[in-house]
Symmetry: C2
C-alpha cells in the first residue's frame, strides 16, 4: 500500500481522520507508524496529500491530513474488454487500476461464455475494493468507471459514442503493419480507447463492426497472448506512447 486511500467525506473539514480497519492495521503492522509519522494519503477521486499521525489508541490511528490543491488528472487511456473468465477478471481489476484507466467497458462477444456475466466478480462489492487496491499500489486516486454491456452490437452502435466521446480508438490485431508504439500517436490531451478481445479473438463480424466505428488496428506481434497478459501489455504500450517525450526523440 503506497498510498492510504480515504473515502470522500471520511475526513473532517480540517483534515482529521480516524482509521480502525485494514488501513489502520497496515499503518501499524507494515508501515509501523508512531505519533509524528507521516504517510502518503489520498481522497478517492480527489487530491493526494500527507497524513501526520497524531495518536494511536487501541489500534485506532488518528491522523491530520493536508492535501494538494488539485486531484491527479484522469488517466488518458480507457479499456474496452471482452469479459474474460471470472478467475482472470478477478486478478485483472487491481492491475488495470494500477496501470491507470479512465474507465473499463466490459462487453460480451461471440467467444465470451454467457455465464461469465452472472459472477459476483462483476458486482461493485467485489471489484471496488480490488480497484482501490490497485490505486493504493500505484499512488493514484482516480477510481476507474465501470460499465457492463451484454450486447456487443448495441454497445458499439448505440452506446460507445456517449461513453467515449472523442479520441483514438484502437483494437489489437495480428494483421496491422507497425509496432504499437509507432502507431499510437494521439494528439495532445486526446484520449485513447484500447479494445482487447476474448480468448480466441473477436470474430469477423465483431472486427468489422469495430472498424466501421473508427477502431484502427494495432499490431501486437505474432505471439498470441492470454487476455490478461495482452491487457497489461497494451495498457503499458498505450500509456508509454501517450507520455510526453522529454528528449529529442520523435
Amino acid at each position: 500500500m503506497n498510498l492510504i486511500i480515504l473515502e470522500p467525506g471520511e475526513t473532517s473539514a480540517s483534515g482529521e481522520v480516524c482509521l480502525s480497519d485494514g488501513r489502520a492495521a497496515h499503518l501499524l503492522n507494515v508501515l509501523k507508524v508512531a505519533p509524528g509519522s507521516q504517510v502518503r494519503v489520498g481522497i478517492l477521486d480527489g487530491p493526494r496529500g500527507v497524513g501526520a499521525v497524531e495518536s494511536i489508541v487501541d489500534a485506532t490511528v488518528a491522523m491530520r491530513c493536508a492535501f494538494e490543491p488539485h486531484a491527479p488528472s484522469r488517466p488518458r487511456v480507457d479499456l474496452l474488454l471482452a469479459l474474460p473468465r471470472p478467475k482472470v477478471m478477478r486478478r485483472l481489476w487491481a492491475q488495470i487500476a494500477a496501470l491507470g484507466v479512465g474507465q473499463i467497458i466490459l462487453t460480451n462477444a461471440e467467444r465470451v461464455e454467457r455465464s461469465y456475466f452472472d459472477t459476483h466478480v462483476l458486482t461493485p462489492g467485489c471489484y471496488r475494493p480490488l480497484l482501490i487496491e490497485g490505486l493504493q499500489q500505484a499512488r493514484d486516486t482516480w477510481l476507474p468507471g465501470v460499465s457492463i454491456h451484454r450486447q456487443f452490437k448495441v454497445l458499439v452502435e448505440d452506446e460507445l459514442d456517449r461513453l467515449f466521446t472523442d479520441g483514438l480508438r484502437l483494437v489489437a490485431s495480428t494483421i496491422a503493419a507497425s509496432p504499437t508504439g509507432a502507431t499510437i500517436r494521439p494528439g495532445i490531451d486526446q484520449r485513447v480507447l484500447i479494445a482487447v478481445g476474448p480468448e480466441g479473438g473477436w470474430n469477423d463480424f465483431e472486427m468489422a463492426l469495430l472498424a466501421a466505428h473508427g477502431f484502427e488496428a494495432i499490431n501486437m506481434g505474432p505471439r498470441t497472448l492470454r487476455t490478461d497478459t495482452a491487457c497489461i501489455a497494451l495498457l503499458a504500450l498505450a500509456h508509454d506512447a501517450t507520455t510526453p517525450r522529454q528528449s529529442s526523440h520523435t
Copy 2:
C-alpha cells in the same frame, strides 16, 4: 494451446508421433480432431510445422508432422528479475514465456526474502511445464534459459558478462526522463536485457552497481506497479521497441 509442443526426439525420422498425454486430451476434447485434421505443432527449441492426424485409437493420437526448415529465432529480450514471492513467480513463468525471452536470470536483492529461494517454484519440475504452457499459448518453441543467483553482487560483477555478452542493459526507474519506447533504441539484432527490481525497489547500492555495469535507466512513469505487472509491461515495451518499423515513423 495454439501450438502442440513436442520434445526433441519424440518424433520418428519421418515425422511420426503418437500422443496419449494431456496433449492428446487437448487434441481430442478441445480441438476435436479427427483423422485428416491438421494442427500446428512445434519441436521444443526447434522448428514449427503442421501435424496431420492419421489415426485415433483409445485416446492415443497418431500424427505425421512436416516441419519448416528453420526454428523461430531466439527472442531478442532477456529478463533479469529480483525473485518475487513464490505465488507471483508461479503465475509469471507462463506469461514471461508467452511474451518471449531468451533467458530469465533470477537474482537475490536486499528486499527479496531469503526463503523465496527454497520454494519448489524454482525447480525445473515446476517451471518447465509452465514455460512450455506459455510457448504453446504464443506459438513459440524457444524455451527460455533459466539461471538462479543467490548473490546479487556476484551475479552483476562476475557472472553477467558471460550470461549477457553484448547488448543494451536497461533498468526500470522512476527518475529517468523519457518514456520507455523512446529510450529503447537497440541496434539491428542487438539484444536487450531488462532488469526488474523487487517489491519496494532496488536499494541504492544495487542501483549503483547496475549503473556501474552498464544499465541505463528507463522511465516507467510515476505509477508504482507490482512486480508481475511491471514485468509484463516492460517486456511488452521492449518487444515493441525492438520490432522493426514498417511505416515511415522513426
